[in-house]
Protein backbone atom coordinates (compact mmCIF):
# COMPACT_ATOMS: atom_id res chain seq x y z
CA UNK A 1 0.00 0.00 0.00
CA UNK A 2 2.98 2.31 0.34
CA UNK A 3 3.87 2.58 -3.30
CA UNK A 4 2.88 5.40 -5.61
CA UNK A 5 1.76 4.54 -9.13
CA UNK A 6 2.53 6.69 -12.17
CA UNK A 7 -0.29 7.71 -14.51
CA UNK A 8 -1.18 10.32 -17.11
CA UNK A 9 -3.66 13.11 -16.45
CA UNK A 10 -6.55 12.82 -18.94
CA UNK A 11 -8.83 15.60 -17.78
CA UNK A 12 -9.33 17.95 -14.84
CA UNK A 13 -12.54 18.88 -13.03
CA UNK A 14 -12.99 21.63 -10.48
CA UNK A 15 -15.01 20.72 -7.40
CA UNK A 16 -15.96 22.46 -4.13
CA UNK A 17 -16.82 25.72 -5.90
CA UNK A 18 -13.76 25.57 -8.05
CA UNK A 19 -11.43 25.27 -5.05
CA UNK A 20 -10.20 21.77 -5.71
CA UNK A 21 -8.74 20.16 -8.78
CA UNK A 22 -9.70 16.53 -9.32
CA UNK A 23 -8.16 14.67 -12.25
CA UNK A 24 -9.06 11.62 -14.24
CA UNK A 25 -5.83 9.70 -14.51
CA UNK A 26 -5.03 6.80 -16.79
CA UNK A 27 -2.90 4.01 -15.40
CA UNK A 28 -2.11 2.02 -18.52
CA UNK A 29 -5.76 2.37 -19.58
CA UNK A 30 -7.39 1.99 -16.15
CA UNK A 31 -8.98 5.33 -15.31
CA UNK A 32 -9.14 6.49 -11.70
CA UNK A 33 -9.82 9.80 -10.00
CA UNK A 34 -7.15 11.57 -8.01
CA UNK A 35 -6.88 14.87 -6.23
CA UNK A 36 -4.39 17.42 -7.56
CA UNK A 37 -4.45 19.54 -4.42
CA UNK A 38 -0.83 18.73 -3.68
CA UNK A 39 0.33 19.46 -7.21
CA UNK A 40 -1.39 22.71 -8.17
CA UNK A 41 0.67 23.14 -11.33
CA UNK A 42 -0.11 19.70 -12.78
CA UNK A 43 -1.98 19.83 -16.07
CA UNK A 44 -3.60 17.57 -18.65
CA UNK A 45 -0.95 15.41 -20.30
CA UNK A 46 1.40 15.48 -17.31
CA UNK A 47 2.61 12.27 -15.68
CA UNK A 48 2.17 12.09 -11.94
CA UNK A 49 2.80 9.61 -9.13
CA UNK A 50 -0.48 8.80 -7.41
CA UNK A 51 -0.70 7.36 -3.93
CA UNK A 52 -4.10 6.29 -2.50
CA UNK A 53 -6.06 8.76 -4.61
CA UNK A 54 -3.75 11.76 -4.33
CA UNK A 55 -1.12 12.88 -6.84
CA UNK A 56 2.10 13.52 -4.89
CA UNK A 57 4.74 14.38 -7.50
CA UNK A 58 5.30 14.95 -11.18
CA UNK A 59 7.53 12.59 -13.12
CA UNK A 60 8.68 12.56 -16.71
CA UNK A 61 7.18 10.24 -19.27
CA UNK A 62 10.16 7.92 -19.41
CA UNK A 63 10.29 7.52 -15.63
CA UNK A 64 6.54 6.94 -15.54
CA UNK A 65 6.71 4.21 -18.18
CA UNK A 66 9.63 2.48 -16.50
CA UNK A 67 8.08 2.53 -13.04
CA UNK A 68 4.68 1.43 -14.35
CA UNK A 69 6.24 -1.55 -16.08
CA UNK A 70 8.06 -2.56 -12.93
CA UNK A 71 4.92 -2.26 -10.80
CA UNK A 72 3.12 -4.43 -13.32
CA UNK A 73 5.84 -7.05 -13.07
CA UNK A 74 5.53 -7.21 -9.31
CA UNK A 75 1.73 -7.39 -9.37
CA UNK A 76 0.96 -3.96 -7.87
CA UNK A 77 -1.19 -2.98 -10.84
CA UNK A 78 -3.37 -6.06 -10.37
CA UNK A 79 -4.07 -4.76 -6.90
CA UNK A 80 -5.21 -1.44 -8.36
CA UNK A 81 -7.57 -3.20 -10.78
CA UNK A 82 -8.89 -5.45 -8.04
CA UNK A 83 -9.67 -2.48 -5.82
CA UNK A 84 -11.23 -0.62 -8.73
CA UNK A 85 -13.79 -3.40 -8.92
CA UNK A 86 -14.34 -3.45 -5.18
CA UNK A 87 -15.01 0.31 -5.23
CA UNK A 88 -17.98 -0.12 -7.48
CA UNK A 89 -20.26 -1.89 -5.02
Amino acid sequence: MCLAIPGKIQSIDYVYNGMVKMAKISFGGIIKEASLEMLPTADVGDYVLVHVGVAISKVNEEEAAKTFEYLKEIGEIDELIEHTQVDKN
Binding site: M1, C2, L3, A4, Y16, M19, V20, K32, E33, A34, S35, E37, M38, L39, P40, L49, H51, V52, G53, V54, I56, S57, V59, N60, E63, K66, T67, E69, Y70, E73, I74, E79, L80, E82, H83, T84, V86, D87
Partner: protein, 362 residues
Protein backbone atom coordinates in the same frame (compact mmCIF):
# COMPACT_ATOMS: atom_id res chain seq x y z
CA UNK B 1 8.47 -12.50 -11.83
CA UNK B 2 10.34 -14.26 -9.10
CA UNK B 3 14.01 -13.96 -9.75
CA UNK B 4 16.38 -11.42 -11.04
CA UNK B 5 17.00 -13.36 -14.24
CA UNK B 6 13.44 -12.52 -15.26
CA UNK B 7 13.86 -8.82 -14.55
CA UNK B 8 14.35 -6.65 -17.59
CA UNK B 9 17.28 -4.70 -16.14
CA UNK B 10 19.02 -7.77 -14.77
CA UNK B 11 22.32 -6.91 -16.49
CA UNK B 12 22.47 -3.49 -14.80
CA UNK B 13 21.82 -5.09 -11.43
CA UNK B 14 24.57 -7.59 -12.17
CA UNK B 15 27.02 -4.79 -12.90
CA UNK B 16 26.26 -3.26 -9.51
CA UNK B 17 26.69 -6.67 -7.88
CA UNK B 18 30.14 -6.98 -9.44
CA UNK B 19 31.06 -3.49 -8.28
CA UNK B 20 29.85 -4.31 -4.79
CA UNK B 21 32.00 -7.44 -4.75
CA UNK B 22 35.03 -5.34 -5.63
CA UNK B 23 34.56 -2.62 -3.05
CA UNK B 24 33.45 -4.68 -0.06
CA UNK B 25 36.37 -5.62 2.18
CA UNK B 26 34.67 -6.03 5.58
CA UNK B 27 31.34 -7.19 7.00
CA UNK B 28 28.62 -4.52 7.02
CA UNK B 29 25.08 -4.60 8.33
CA UNK B 30 22.64 -2.20 6.71
CA UNK B 31 18.89 -1.72 6.93
CA UNK B 32 16.29 -0.88 4.32
CA UNK B 33 13.49 1.03 6.01
CA UNK B 34 10.62 0.64 3.62
CA UNK B 35 8.55 -2.53 3.29
CA UNK B 36 8.23 -1.92 -0.46
CA UNK B 37 12.02 -2.15 -0.61
CA UNK B 38 12.06 -5.36 1.46
CA UNK B 39 9.50 -6.85 -0.88
CA UNK B 40 11.55 -5.91 -3.92
CA UNK B 41 14.87 -7.16 -2.49
CA UNK B 42 13.41 -10.51 -1.53
CA UNK B 43 11.17 -10.97 -4.55
CA UNK B 44 13.95 -10.40 -7.04
CA UNK B 45 16.32 -12.68 -5.16
CA UNK B 46 18.81 -9.83 -4.62
CA UNK B 47 19.35 -10.72 -0.95
CA UNK B 48 20.80 -14.08 -1.96
CA UNK B 49 23.11 -12.48 -4.54
CA UNK B 50 24.76 -9.87 -2.32
CA UNK B 51 28.36 -10.45 -1.21
CA UNK B 52 28.51 -12.63 1.92
CA UNK B 53 29.97 -9.68 3.85
CA UNK B 54 26.80 -7.63 3.49
CA UNK B 55 23.86 -8.34 5.78
CA UNK B 56 20.57 -6.63 5.04
CA UNK B 57 18.21 -6.30 7.97
CA UNK B 58 14.64 -5.44 7.21
CA UNK B 59 13.25 -2.37 8.88
CA UNK B 60 9.87 -1.63 10.42
CA UNK B 61 8.66 0.13 7.28
CA UNK B 62 5.34 -1.59 6.89
CA UNK B 63 2.54 0.49 8.41
CA UNK B 64 0.22 -2.49 8.57
CA UNK B 65 2.82 -4.43 10.58
CA UNK B 66 3.45 -1.75 13.21
CA UNK B 67 -0.19 -0.87 13.90
CA UNK B 68 -0.76 -1.89 17.53
CA UNK B 69 -3.01 -4.84 18.34
CA UNK B 70 -5.12 -2.56 20.52
CA UNK B 71 -6.00 -0.32 17.56
CA UNK B 72 -6.96 -3.30 15.42
CA UNK B 73 -9.25 -4.43 18.24
CA UNK B 74 -10.71 -0.92 18.30
CA UNK B 75 -11.36 -1.05 14.56
CA UNK B 76 -13.06 -4.44 14.93
CA UNK B 77 -15.15 -3.06 17.81
CA UNK B 78 -16.27 -0.10 15.68
CA UNK B 79 -17.00 -2.32 12.68
CA UNK B 80 -19.34 -4.36 14.85
CA UNK B 81 -21.31 -1.30 15.96
CA UNK B 82 -24.70 -1.24 14.25
CA UNK B 83 -24.51 2.03 12.43
CA UNK B 84 -20.91 1.97 11.30
CA UNK B 85 -19.28 1.37 7.93
CA UNK B 86 -15.62 0.66 8.61
CA UNK B 87 -13.24 1.06 5.68
CA UNK B 88 -9.52 0.71 5.15
CA UNK B 89 -6.78 -0.35 2.78
CA UNK B 90 -6.90 -4.01 1.75
CA UNK B 91 -4.00 -5.37 3.82
CA UNK B 92 -5.38 -3.93 7.03
CA UNK B 93 -8.40 -6.21 6.90
CA UNK B 94 -6.46 -9.44 7.29
CA UNK B 95 -4.31 -8.47 10.26
CA UNK B 96 -5.31 -10.64 13.21
CA UNK B 97 -6.67 -8.73 16.20
CA UNK B 98 -6.67 -10.35 19.63
CA UNK B 99 -9.98 -12.08 18.84
CA UNK B 100 -10.52 -11.61 15.13
CA UNK B 101 -9.52 -9.65 12.06
CA UNK B 102 -11.67 -7.09 10.28
CA UNK B 103 -12.20 -9.66 7.54
CA UNK B 104 -13.62 -12.10 10.07
CA UNK B 105 -15.86 -9.35 11.44
CA UNK B 106 -17.03 -8.77 7.86
CA UNK B 107 -17.77 -12.48 7.40
CA UNK B 108 -19.90 -12.28 10.56
CA UNK B 109 -21.98 -9.50 9.05
CA UNK B 110 -20.16 -6.26 9.93
CA UNK B 111 -20.07 -3.62 7.19
CA UNK B 112 -16.35 -3.55 6.39
CA UNK B 113 -15.08 -2.29 3.04
CA UNK B 114 -11.79 -2.19 1.22
CA UNK B 115 -11.15 1.16 -0.44
CA UNK B 116 -8.37 2.37 -2.67
CA UNK B 117 -8.42 5.90 -1.26
CA UNK B 118 -9.71 7.66 1.87
CA UNK B 119 -11.35 10.21 -0.43
CA UNK B 120 -13.72 7.43 -1.53
CA UNK B 121 -14.69 6.99 2.11
CA UNK B 122 -15.81 10.63 2.21
CA UNK B 123 -18.07 9.98 -0.80
CA UNK B 124 -19.39 6.91 1.00
CA UNK B 125 -20.24 9.09 4.02
CA UNK B 126 -22.00 11.61 1.79
CA UNK B 127 -24.10 8.86 0.19
CA UNK B 128 -24.97 7.22 3.53
CA UNK B 129 -26.06 10.07 5.78
CA UNK B 130 -27.68 7.69 8.28
CA UNK B 131 -24.43 5.75 8.83
CA UNK B 132 -21.17 6.64 10.53
CA UNK B 133 -18.27 6.05 8.13
CA UNK B 134 -14.93 5.39 9.82
CA UNK B 135 -11.72 5.14 7.81
CA UNK B 136 -8.93 3.18 9.51
CA UNK B 137 -6.11 5.52 8.51
CA UNK B 138 -2.77 3.80 8.76
CA UNK B 139 0.41 4.77 7.02
CA UNK B 140 3.72 6.58 6.96
CA UNK B 141 4.36 10.15 5.81
CA UNK B 142 3.54 9.13 2.22
CA UNK B 143 -0.06 8.33 3.13
CA UNK B 144 -0.61 11.12 5.68
CA UNK B 145 -1.55 13.82 3.12
CA UNK B 146 -4.32 11.65 1.60
CA UNK B 147 -5.72 10.73 5.00
CA UNK B 148 -5.55 14.38 6.11
CA UNK B 149 -7.20 15.50 2.90
CA UNK B 150 -10.16 13.20 3.55
CA UNK B 151 -10.80 15.14 6.78
CA UNK B 152 -10.64 18.46 4.92
CA UNK B 153 -13.04 17.17 2.26
CA UNK B 154 -15.48 15.99 4.95
CA UNK B 155 -15.22 19.40 6.56
CA UNK B 156 -15.94 21.16 3.26
CA UNK B 157 -18.93 18.89 2.72
CA UNK B 158 -20.05 19.67 6.26
CA UNK B 159 -20.31 15.96 7.02
CA UNK B 160 -20.93 14.95 10.60
CA UNK B 161 -20.71 11.23 9.88
CA UNK B 162 -17.09 10.84 8.76
CA UNK B 163 -14.12 10.18 11.01
CA UNK B 164 -10.72 8.51 10.88
CA UNK B 165 -9.12 6.06 13.28
CA UNK B 166 -5.48 7.06 12.97
CA UNK B 167 -2.41 4.94 13.36
CA UNK B 168 0.04 7.25 11.64
CA UNK B 169 3.73 6.63 12.10
CA UNK B 170 6.78 8.74 11.23
CA UNK B 171 9.98 7.27 9.88
CA UNK B 172 12.86 9.48 11.16
CA UNK B 173 12.03 9.12 14.90
CA UNK B 174 11.86 5.34 14.42
CA UNK B 175 15.29 5.33 12.76
CA UNK B 176 16.66 7.28 15.69
CA UNK B 177 15.06 4.89 18.19
CA UNK B 178 16.58 1.93 16.32
CA UNK B 179 20.13 3.29 16.33
CA UNK B 180 19.89 4.35 19.96
CA UNK B 181 18.74 0.92 21.09
CA UNK B 182 21.42 -1.13 22.88
CA UNK B 183 20.77 -4.07 20.60
CA UNK B 184 21.37 -2.03 17.44
CA UNK B 185 23.53 -3.64 14.79
CA UNK B 186 22.68 -1.33 11.89
CA UNK B 187 25.58 0.66 10.41
CA UNK B 188 23.77 2.47 7.62
CA UNK B 189 20.29 3.05 6.26
CA UNK B 190 18.56 3.01 2.92
CA UNK B 191 15.84 5.59 3.61
CA UNK B 192 12.42 5.35 1.99
CA UNK B 193 12.13 7.33 -1.24
CA UNK B 194 8.41 7.98 -1.26
CA UNK B 195 8.38 9.22 2.33
CA UNK B 196 10.94 11.86 1.28
CA UNK B 197 8.84 12.78 -1.78
CA UNK B 198 6.43 14.29 0.75
CA UNK B 199 8.66 15.41 3.63
CA UNK B 200 11.91 16.30 1.88
CA UNK B 201 15.26 15.22 3.24
CA UNK B 202 16.17 17.73 5.95
CA UNK B 203 15.09 15.51 8.86
CA UNK B 204 17.85 13.03 8.07
CA UNK B 205 20.84 15.35 8.47
CA UNK B 206 20.77 15.28 12.30
CA UNK B 207 20.50 11.47 12.31
CA UNK B 208 23.57 11.28 10.07
CA UNK B 209 25.55 13.80 12.12
CA UNK B 210 24.64 12.66 15.63
CA UNK B 211 25.18 8.98 14.97
CA UNK B 212 27.97 9.30 12.39
CA UNK B 213 25.96 6.96 10.23
CA UNK B 214 25.45 7.16 6.46
CA UNK B 215 21.98 7.33 4.95
CA UNK B 216 21.08 6.97 1.28
CA UNK B 217 17.57 7.90 0.18
CA UNK B 218 16.62 5.12 -2.20
CA UNK B 219 13.86 4.07 -4.60
CA UNK B 220 12.28 0.64 -4.62
CA UNK B 221 13.11 -0.91 -7.97
CA UNK B 222 15.94 -3.46 -8.11
CA UNK B 223 18.28 -1.07 -9.93
CA UNK B 224 17.54 1.69 -7.40
CA UNK B 225 18.19 -0.64 -4.50
CA UNK B 226 21.46 -1.92 -5.93
CA UNK B 227 22.65 1.61 -6.62
CA UNK B 228 21.63 2.66 -3.10
CA UNK B 229 23.50 -0.26 -1.54
CA UNK B 230 26.63 0.52 -3.57
CA UNK B 231 26.49 4.20 -2.48
CA UNK B 232 26.08 3.19 1.15
CA UNK B 233 28.87 0.59 1.15
CA UNK B 234 31.23 3.05 -0.57
CA UNK B 235 30.68 5.51 2.27
CA UNK B 236 31.15 2.83 4.91
CA UNK B 237 34.34 1.50 3.31
CA UNK B 238 35.72 5.06 3.10
CA UNK B 239 34.79 5.83 6.70
CA UNK B 240 32.38 8.54 5.56
CA UNK B 241 28.92 9.46 6.80
CA UNK B 242 26.80 11.62 4.54
CA UNK B 243 23.22 11.96 3.46
CA UNK B 244 22.94 11.02 -0.22
CA UNK B 245 19.94 10.91 -2.52
CA UNK B 246 19.87 8.04 -4.98
CA UNK B 247 16.25 8.79 -5.91
CA UNK B 248 16.65 12.43 -6.98
CA UNK B 249 14.56 11.86 -10.09
CA UNK B 250 11.53 11.66 -7.80
CA UNK B 251 12.67 13.18 -4.48
CA UNK B 252 13.64 16.82 -4.28
CA UNK B 253 15.16 18.07 -1.08
CA UNK B 254 12.24 20.31 -0.06
CA UNK B 255 9.59 17.61 -0.45
CA UNK B 256 6.05 18.59 -1.39
CA UNK B 257 5.11 21.82 0.42
CA UNK B 258 1.39 21.62 -0.36
CA UNK B 259 1.27 18.10 1.07
CA UNK B 260 3.10 19.12 4.25
CA UNK B 261 0.74 22.06 4.60
CA UNK B 262 -2.31 19.79 4.37
CA UNK B 263 -0.79 17.41 6.95
CA UNK B 264 -0.22 20.35 9.31
CA UNK B 265 -3.79 21.55 8.96
CA UNK B 266 -5.16 18.23 10.21
CA UNK B 267 -2.52 16.40 12.23
CA UNK B 268 -0.21 17.08 15.13
CA UNK B 269 2.79 15.06 16.20
CA UNK B 270 2.21 12.62 19.08
CA UNK B 271 3.98 9.77 20.84
CA UNK B 272 3.08 6.51 19.17
CA UNK B 273 3.24 2.85 20.10
CA UNK B 274 4.74 0.72 17.33
CA UNK B 275 3.67 -2.88 17.41
CA UNK B 276 6.62 -5.07 18.34
CA UNK B 277 8.82 -2.08 19.19
CA UNK B 278 6.98 -0.11 21.85
CA UNK B 279 6.38 3.59 22.32
CA UNK B 280 8.61 5.96 20.38
CA UNK B 281 8.42 9.65 21.34
CA UNK B 282 7.08 12.03 18.69
CA UNK B 283 6.80 9.24 16.14
CA UNK B 284 3.21 9.60 14.98
CA UNK B 285 0.39 11.87 13.94
CA UNK B 286 -2.98 12.26 15.59
CA UNK B 287 -5.92 14.42 14.55
CA UNK B 288 -5.69 17.93 16.02
CA UNK B 289 -7.86 18.60 19.05
CA UNK B 290 -10.01 21.19 17.29
CA UNK B 291 -10.94 18.57 14.67
CA UNK B 292 -12.08 16.02 17.29
CA UNK B 293 -15.34 15.57 15.38
CA UNK B 294 -13.31 13.73 12.74
CA UNK B 295 -11.28 11.68 15.20
CA UNK B 296 -12.88 8.25 15.72
CA UNK B 297 -10.82 7.79 18.88
CA UNK B 298 -12.57 10.77 20.50
CA UNK B 299 -15.91 10.56 18.78
CA UNK B 300 -16.74 7.02 19.89
CA UNK B 301 -16.52 5.74 23.40
CA UNK B 302 -14.54 2.59 22.70
CA UNK B 303 -14.07 0.53 25.81
CA UNK B 304 -11.98 -2.55 25.31
CA UNK B 305 -9.19 -4.09 27.32
CA UNK B 306 -5.56 -3.95 26.25
CA UNK B 307 -5.01 -7.46 24.82
CA UNK B 308 -1.92 -9.66 25.06
CA UNK B 309 0.20 -10.25 21.97
CA UNK B 310 0.26 -13.81 20.63
CA UNK B 311 3.13 -15.47 22.47
CA UNK B 312 4.21 -17.59 19.51
CA UNK B 313 4.91 -14.60 17.24
CA UNK B 314 8.33 -12.95 17.39
CA UNK B 315 7.34 -9.99 15.19
CA UNK B 316 9.02 -7.59 17.63
CA UNK B 317 12.42 -9.09 16.93
CA UNK B 318 11.68 -9.24 13.20
CA UNK B 319 10.69 -5.56 13.07
CA UNK B 320 13.83 -4.47 14.90
CA UNK B 321 15.96 -6.55 12.57
CA UNK B 322 17.27 -8.82 15.33
CA UNK B 323 15.91 -11.98 13.73
CA UNK B 324 15.03 -13.03 10.21
CA UNK B 325 11.56 -14.41 9.47
CA UNK B 326 12.86 -17.91 8.77
CA UNK B 327 14.34 -17.96 12.29
CA UNK B 328 10.83 -17.83 13.73
CA UNK B 329 9.75 -21.34 14.87
CA UNK B 330 6.23 -20.71 13.55
CA UNK B 331 7.36 -19.49 10.11
CA UNK B 332 5.66 -21.55 7.39
CA UNK B 333 4.30 -23.94 10.02
CA UNK B 334 1.56 -22.50 12.20
CA UNK B 335 2.02 -19.13 10.49
CA UNK B 336 1.31 -18.68 6.77
CA UNK B 337 -0.24 -15.87 4.69
CA UNK B 338 -3.55 -17.77 4.68
CA UNK B 339 -3.46 -18.13 8.44
CA UNK B 340 -1.16 -15.38 9.74
CA UNK B 341 -0.24 -15.28 13.43
CA UNK B 342 1.27 -11.82 13.15
CA UNK B 343 1.05 -8.75 10.94
CA UNK B 344 4.40 -9.20 9.09
CA UNK B 345 2.88 -12.33 7.50
CA UNK B 346 -0.13 -10.38 6.22
CA UNK B 347 1.01 -7.45 4.15
CA UNK B 348 2.98 -8.01 0.95
CA UNK B 349 5.37 -5.44 2.45
CA UNK B 350 5.81 -7.43 5.64
CA UNK B 351 9.12 -9.25 5.97
CA UNK B 352 7.58 -12.62 6.91
CA UNK B 353 5.22 -12.67 3.91
CA UNK B 354 8.03 -11.60 1.57
CA UNK B 355 10.22 -14.45 2.82
CA UNK B 356 7.35 -16.91 2.67
CA UNK B 357 6.50 -16.14 -0.95
CA UNK B 358 9.94 -15.78 -2.39
CA UNK B 359 12.51 -17.65 -0.47
CA UNK B 360 15.20 -19.43 -1.78
CA UNK B 361 16.77 -16.93 0.63
CA UNK B 362 19.13 -18.20 3.28
Amino acid sequence: MKYLSEYRDASVVNQYLEELDKITTRPWTIMEICGGQTHSLVKNGIIGLLPKHITMVHGPGCPVCVTPLHLIDKAVYLAEEKNVILCSYGDMLRVPGSKKSLLEAKANGADVRILYSPLEAVTLAKNNPDKQVVFFAVGFETTAPANALSVLHAQRENLKNYSILTSHVLVPPAMEALVNDDTNIVQGFLAAGHVCTIMGISEYYPIVELNKLPIVITGFEPVDLMQGIVMLIKQLENGEYKLENQYSRVVNSEGNKEAVNIINQVFEVCNRVWRGIGEIPKSGYEVKKELALYDANKKFNIQIDEAQECQDCIAGEILRGIKKPNQCPQFGKKCTPINPLGAPMVSSEGACAAYYHFTNVE
